[in-house]
Subunit: 479 residues, 2 copies
């Protein structure tokens, strides 16, 4: 079932011999750790494990919405793949989840210019009646403007937030529009609206709505909520300049409170300090309309591919490397908290022993910089890792990492887990994010390999060195 | 309702004075005709008529499938707009049409990798039962390979043609894949298949199926027929490498034989030879899922904008300029013939008096070359027009025109009507063609204006000059 380059086993065989010779000498000196890291980096650039993982998961499973049978199949598929790749221990962690499942959806402009628009319910949206609702649209330029609408002032209306997302390499244009997605439905309900619609949190101009989770204290939106594709938001904006816009919305969905989700956990057991864990994360669930290639099969392929190269070394690193494919990242749960799989794993008894954690969850764009916890600033570890990743085009940034990815948040919150940031080029990421268009063809195999190279170097050096990422930062030398 | 640049009336006022001075002198000498053509060209580059037309039609009407109330609204909207623009005579020509209307559609891969795929019925497709059909997919690399399948060899199967379209500036990559769309369903039925699916006739990699008309002697496909988005064709191809692919197809549609369609006809009446007609065409109908911006609101905006500039001159040209917004271009009619509006207009008693005809039906990409009928080769007319359009980046090509666009075909066939070709850059056209993504945001206003400039120069010179485009070609001078 697995597709492989026929050239690949040969390349690995050729490069494995010198690497083996070097890592067999123990204990590892910093220079030797760095040499092995460089070899892992170079192997990553010709290794197909990550792409094969992404290809297999997106093809054989496809969409894998949290809490559905498809997510369960994805977990079983991944566990089987990880076992075959030679990890020491592979397990599926099962936990309860309230699953939200999309039903029929339809948006229609009524009146003198009758036409269909492309929209998708936001995660956690409540249902309209089967036949839908009809109401006039009131457009707000931002969440702040909607929040300023007096209580009851939108009674019987559809509230629409029309804020455009800015394209930025770091992806930081997402914050304000994601905030509108999270907070919009609640503000619309407060002001009396019967439904909430929004311009998609996305940078493209295709007829794809960008769905996404919403945050509401009760877990489920009190009113039906949907994202419009950006061209459809433009269309409503143009029509609204001509006169009142009235719409019919059909947004049907079900909430299935007694569902289950899963994390998949695979370890390379540390040879000296097995209880000290270097955690490499990604999330296995995806939204339901694309096949979740960039979000987040890519991340799972990257961390799996990186760990696999380390598993192939002649001996295990000193610390344990744990790959966690989190379930149920893309959810809004009763109580308002998402990240259900990460929260479950962070509650494990051994979670406080995680020495460093990071998640790959930003597609397959190249890594252009990386940040480590403050404790690693000005250390030989940081300089050595910087030297290893530089030939891939990634720079070491001595600014302390500010977060390790969405699923690392619960670990930081619960245990103060040190986090690393591997910053990817996200210029185009939000063209595809949370749309039906998130499919395998959007993955650049070379960029994927570059990610694996940086992750492999980072994971190896963090696991083989004794660096305490929780320590107080080393003072900068005075000049 | 009409949005206009506030600068525009001023610009026209400033430039109108010298033009008026020149065209008032009669009879027009070639140099004077050319001077006016150059003025029209320059005005076109700052004129918003075409864009306003496209914006209005795609916004206020949106999708306008042939034979539906939306197409009728589009005709009424256009007629009102053309009257307001100052044409001498505007009429709606009504004719019968068998309308094909899309219903519920769903494609699902069954078995071990269950997942939805994005597909849309092809125009004229017959319906599956409401609950759909289930069958195994047999993939052919081309129409030719499918045509070689023995009679009855596909009994109970879904036939799939998986031919990829080549991206070419001229659009000529479309021919082979459009042939698969036209001929595939009939060949599949002949071989016993229960349905026909195909990789979209499109150059993009987005999850948009490209629909389109089919040709079958009885007008309606004998089996359900659909286009898959290109990423979904890839997905089926990958799954088929792993084992047999079984699918469920729901393709519901209705054929409404007693429908009506319309052409909209607007004239600038010739001041000396009103019966000699320069026909500028486009088509008003669109597929039902986008708003038909590039196909073909753009073309209607271009020819309307060009004719409007001529209508604004102090006196009418010698010959009549007739703008025809054809209805029902995108159809497959009982008897196998499409282009219903063009065939209706070509059957008018005055159709043989059309002296030259061309259609704008290739989006808003810039015109890079133009060809005239053989009779105009090596004439001062051709050289003069070539000089006028050169500053816009369009070259005169002395190769005789080989066709004037789809809707001009019936005129050429019935009357030997001379045709001109205004060749646009179509590199990206088939990324959008016949998809939900064909919307206003895809129109480049500057490229649209460049088209108007070339069309205005051509239409003016053809209508003001006495060139007989039916004459035998002028022999090339011996060197």
């Amino acid at each position: 079932m697995m597709k492989r380059s026929t050239l690949l086993p040969l390349l690995i065989a050729l490069s494995a011999a010198p690497a083996a010779a070097q890592v067999r000498e123990a204990p590892s000196a910093p220079a030797e750790i760095e040499r092995t890291a460089a070899q892992l980096r170079d192997r990553a650039l010709t290794d197909a494990t990550a792409y094969d993982f992404v290809e297999g998961l997106t093809t054989e499973i496809g969409p894998r919405l949290a809490g559905t049978p498809a997510e369960r199949r994805a977990a079983e598929w991944s566990a089987a793949r990880l076992r075959r790749l030679g990890f020491d221990r592979v397990a599926i962690e099962d936990f309860p989840l309230a699953a939200w499942v999309r039903g029929a959806e339809e948006g229609t402009i009524l009146g003198a210019s009758p036409q269909r628009v492309e929209l998708d319910a936001l995660g956690g949206s409540s249902s309209t009646p089967l036949g839908g609702i009809e109401a006039e649209v009131v457009i707000f330029p931002s969440l702040e403007a909607l929040a300023a609408a007096p209580d009851g002032s939108l009674r019987g209306k559809i509230a629409m937030v029309n804020r455009r997302m800015t394209r930025v390499q770091t992806g930081q244009g997402y914050g304000p529009v994601a905030a509108a997605r999270s907070g919009g439905p609640g503000q619309a309900a407060r002001a009396g609206a019967v439904a909430f619609i929004m311009r998609s949190a996305g940078t493209d101009s295709h007829r794809f709505p960008h769905t996404g989770a919403t945050a509401y204290p009760d877990g489920r939106q009190p009113i039906p909520s949907a994202a419009l594709s950006n061209p459809d938001a433009d269309q409503i904006e143009r029509l609204a300049r001509r006169g009142p816009v009235r719409m019919r919305l059909v947004l049907n969905s079900t909430l299935q409170p007694a569902s289950r989700s899963q994390n998949v956990v695979a370890e390379i057991r540390g040879r000296e300090r097995p209880d000290e864990v270097v955690l490499l994360g990604c999330h296995l669930d995806s939204w339901d309309q694309g096949t979740g290639a960039i979000d987040d099969a890519a991340g799972c392929g990257i961390v799996t591919g990186a760990a696999k190269l380390i598993a192939d070394l002649p001996r295990n690193p000193r610390r344990t490397i744990r790959v966690v494919l989190f379930g149920a990242e893309e959810v809004s749960q009763p109580g308002g908290q998402g990240l259900a799989g990460a929260r479950f794993h962070a509650a494990r008894a051994d979670a406080p022993r995680i020495v460093i954690a990071s998640e790959s969850d930003f597609g397959a764009g190249r890594i252009y910089s990386m940040q480590l916890p403050a404790a690693a600033a000005n250390t030989e570890f940081m300089r050595g890792l910087g030297r290893v990743i530089l030939p891939t085009g990634a720079l070491m940034d001595s600014t302390p990492a500010r977060g390790g990815g969405p699923d690392i948040g619960p670990f930081v919150a619960a245990h103060g887990t040190p986090a690393a940031t591997l910053q990817q080029d996200g210029t185009d990421y939000f063209d595809l994010h949370h749309t039906p268009d998130d499919t395998l063809d959007k993955i650049d195999p070379d960029a994927l390999k570059q990610n694996v190279a940086v992750w492999a170097a980072f994971a190896w050096m963090a696991a083989e060195s004794g660096v305490d990422f929780r320590a107080a930062p080393t003072p900068a030398p005075t000049r």
